[in-house]
Assembly symmetry: C2
Homo-oligomer: 303 residues x 2
């Protein structure tokens, strides 16, 4: 498992899997925590193949209820239970998914060993938030209700600068106050400012996941300056009309969103099975935006 | 694709898939026709991997509603539709499966390009029958309702013996009557018997698919003399108690059924993930019944 923030790519296909491409699934590592983004058929096999730890996944985020984005979820949650998971699992998805999972668990007489906690993406703009991570929905424009996800890793608290504290002879029982942002007052009444005794915390980072959607510039304001943008690119420019009709995007359109949002890096994926080689996707996108990665099963894209 | 009757093994895992073992799925070729037996997650990927023709599958037979036997079905039927299938697909399964499929198709706004025809295994003993093939249920003994399948390829009609017809100078317009079993009467009134002018048709063959079940001798009478018996063997003898508790069988128990039913060949499969090597399954079974095959993904077992 890679140490830094990044996205493990598990599936790059659109619609149905082909011999070498699995349906959409991604394991996002951010702030040392794990979120599964979409869960197409075979996701649990892909997680095993790439030796990714099932049990650290705290939430599964499903963009929409087309099968290539969620047919692997029932198998995954069943396997979690067989493995004896006890930790709650959040399912962040359109609400119909709850019934779909429950009817299948009922038919097999399965009592999960852990609790599912559903968050309906139709209702909330902020889907999850704690001290470290915020997940917001990004409303997309697809044939059915579809919401992407904006992950923000909040900037970390300042950390004690041990060397500086040693040099200034700060008593250990004062370190807690320093961490809370207080300055230190010496016995002689002089003050040492907090910034001299602490180090900057981790930088805020943002990752946005946008699939499936037609070209939809309304999302740009939410994507401003994100570190990593995943944007679907089902088609090449030659099939722009087909993209429009099927509510998908071309590589150029994804690049145009990336450019206007001033993102740092763009991942293209969700490729139509009609294309065998994919280099043309990169070429077309790079006419507009330079820092483009073509997704591939097994790849880890750090940010 | 192999020319003769046989079973393509697509998945040999029990419960959840492991790195190298997929959940239950088998493509039965019998009399030139194709039936899918169970459809665990990833079945459509396995069919592609082994270059098996999706579109010739006329029925999917699901033994029971534990996920490792049917979680791949919704993806497969969706892909059939994306590929433009028009031919009706029979789903032979416990009736709850209908609702499970329909709720998922509804959530994704999918209108299939072909019709599904459900046959409820809870209701009927003869699940399908036409001039060539009969499918009967085999009631098994598992934690939920579970029915295996007995396939009978009926003995074929006698075929015209072209050489004999030529030697006896049979007029061509009489061949149809010969095929219907009539004798031929010459102008001089003498009769040539049908058996001299025709060849025996194809021999009747039987294949039985029994999973998941605890040791259940009640099935033996239905399995008498079958050409190929697939019987689950989740456990080795050392875990016989666990087999009993979980309503599964050991390799020895499967072999004992094969022996008593006088079957020609036995396939063992549905192996618990706790076992890495599988040779012990064969060894234990062969103490009781000799003609044993250990299932493996990609294998074709002819009969």
């Amino acid at each position: 498992m890679q140490p830094e923030d990044g996205l493990h790519i598990l599936g790059t296909a659109s619609a149905s899997p082909s011999k070498n491409r699995f349906p959409s699934a991604h394991l996002l590592k951010i702030g040392g925590r794990f979120f599964l983004l979409d869960c197409g058929e075979g996701t649990q096999m892909q997680l095993r193949k790439y030796k990714l730890n099932f049990n650290r996944i705290e939430a599964v985020c499903i963009t929409h209820l087309h099968g290539d984005h969620f047919y692997g979820l029932i198998g995954l949650i069943s396997t979690f239970s067989l493995l004896g998971r006890t930790k709650l699992l959040k399912i962040i998805a359109p609400k119909e998914l709850k019934e779909i999972l429950e009817i299948q668990l009922k038919a097999s007489g399965t009592m999960l060993s852990y609790r599912l906690d559903f968050v309906d993406t139709r209702l909330e703009d902020i889907l999850f938030e704690d001290q470290e991570i915020k997940i917001q929905r990004i409303l997309l424009n697809h044939r059915v209700f579809c919401a992407g996800f904006l992950f923000t890793k909040k900037s970390g608290k300042r950390k004690i600068n041990l060397q500086a504290c040693h040099d200034h002879e700060i008593p250990k029982n004062q370190l807690g106050l320093l961490q809370k942002g207080k300055d230190f007052t010496k016995d002689d009444g002089s003050v040492i400012q907090n910034e001299l005794l602490t180090l900057k915390g981790a930088k805020q980072k943002k990752m946005a996941y946008c699939t499936d959607t037609r070209f939809f510039p309304e999302i740009i304001k939410q994507l401003k300056d994100v570190d990593l943008l995943y944007h679907e690119a089902t088609f090449l420019d030659t099939h722009a009309q087909r993209a429009e009709q099927t509510f998908h995007s071309t590589a150029k359109q994804a690049a145009s969103i990336a450019l206007k949002a001033n993102v740092k890096q763009l991942i293209l994926s969700h490729f139509s099975a009609r294309y065998k080689g994919l280099e043309e996707f990169k070429k077309e996108a790079q006419e507009i935006f330079d820092n483009v990665v073509l997704a591939k099963e097994g790849m880890f894209v750090s940010f």
